[in-house]
Symmetry: C2
Subunit: 220 residues, 2 copies
DNA sequence: ACAAGAACTGAACCGAGGTTCATTCCATGG
DNA sequence: CCATGGAATGAACCTCGGTTCAGTTCTTGT
């Protein structure tokens, strides 16, 4: 017999795999999920189309892994801020800001990561990373509750709401049609400030007196 | 010459068009956008596939119109609650509740309307209806600010945040894999309560004292 | 009853793009 | 330097589902 997967080859394999994942990132940042096709990714990675399938079972899984990789990194960055020291409120504000700033800086990619339609596997991966972000926020909120900064509340739900508010409010500026334009930065800054204010008050303010609720009607 | 589009025929045409739109709704409520194909819709509408194209130029536009129709209805219902009388806070709470209750009642459909990947035209239609919902909330918030119930704030951004918080927090229970189960209703109720509490505090609470903010780091 | 012209039908068509695979290239150990 | 077998290649293939259109059915006015 001859040929045994040597160390060097193993590394080259790994490198190629990584290159492909990075290529997905680059292509998606350029044309979004909708426009990203396997052949393009292969080209960007300087690899033949078939080679992609040597490393990943399908387009869906490839893209999902690429998204997970990228999202994981973002989660780490945000989590680092969230776990720094200082009052929970300040940490929450900073975490939101970091998320927003980084998203706006990489518009197209962020839009794809957050909102763009894609294969089911990618969607599943999105759910996972959203959960991961929400977990970061949840921990932060629980911290705040424990040390008396925040009133008692459903931390899990609040974390989802924070995540949602952040995403939704950012989609406008991130959407592919809204190109960066003169006077864009200040607008974005104002928006981020508004988001931060919104979330902080939601989480940190004293409970609003239970309003009298009317019956909830509905028609099919 | 003979044959002139008579009144009766005109109505039949209209009826058929409506039937097709309703069929889209039914099919999407069943299998979501992903699984919905034109042939299915035609069958559900008791019409031949080709007939669909007599009334709509393409699948994308058909589906987009169906979504717009449905969403428009929901917006009306929520807007009605939002425009009723009473304190703005109570109206906001009720509006959120109505939205949530109706969404949970029609899980699959709501999920498709809110979050499921679909053709670009459908996405565009989604943006429009999101804007419409946000507008309803925005008006409500401005009302509250005017009459002194709510502190001054960026109503537009706050409305987006409310919309996002609502959507995101609901996606969990709405997601196709999470089937309704024993003990589901109370959980859902608790979740809706949490969402309402979150949004009300965000919008209605006194401004949170500006926290000291640290610098915002980032790594590429 | 019949001609004229719509509207309907649904099987066939077609394009796009993900996937495959026969062939070529290259690393390994003897 | 050669035999062995994994890795890479990329053009051909295949599938799926939206779209078309030639033939049929139905309506209308004479």
């Amino acid at each position: 017999m001859a040929y045994r997967r040597t160390e060097r080859v193993q590394e080259q394999l790994q490198d190629k795999r990584d290159r492909i994942l990075q290529a997905v990132r680059a292509v998606v940042a350029e044309v979004g999920f909708r426009g990203a096709q396997v052949a393009m990714v292969a080209e960007a990675a300087e690899v033949a189309t078939g080679t992609v399938y040597r490393h990943f079972p399908s387009k869906g899984e490839l893209f999902a892994e690429a998204l997970a990789l990228n999202a994981g990194h973002e989660v780490e960055v945000v989590a680092a801020v969230a776990k720094s020291d200082g009052p929970a409120a300040a940490r929450l504000a900073d975490a939101l800001r970091v998320f927003a700033v980084r998203a706006v800086r990489a518009r197209r990619l962020a839009y794809a990561m957050i909102a763009e339609p894609a294969e089911p596997e990618v969607d599943a991966a999105r759910l996972v990373y959203r959960r991961a972000f929400a977990d970061v926020f949840e921990t932060l909120i629980e911290d705040g509750i424990k040390n008396g900064e925040f009133p008692a509340q459903n931390a899990r739900a609040a974390a989802s709401c924070v995540m949602g508010a952040l995403n939704e409010a950012l989609i406008g500026p991130l959407a592919p049609e809204s190109r960066p334009q003169k006077g864009d930065a200040p607008t974005t800054k104002a928006l981020v400030d508004a988001i931060v204010a919104f979330c902080l008050q939601a989480v940190a303010a004293r409970p609003y007196p239970r309003p009298l609720l009317r019956s909830v009607e509905s028609t099919p």
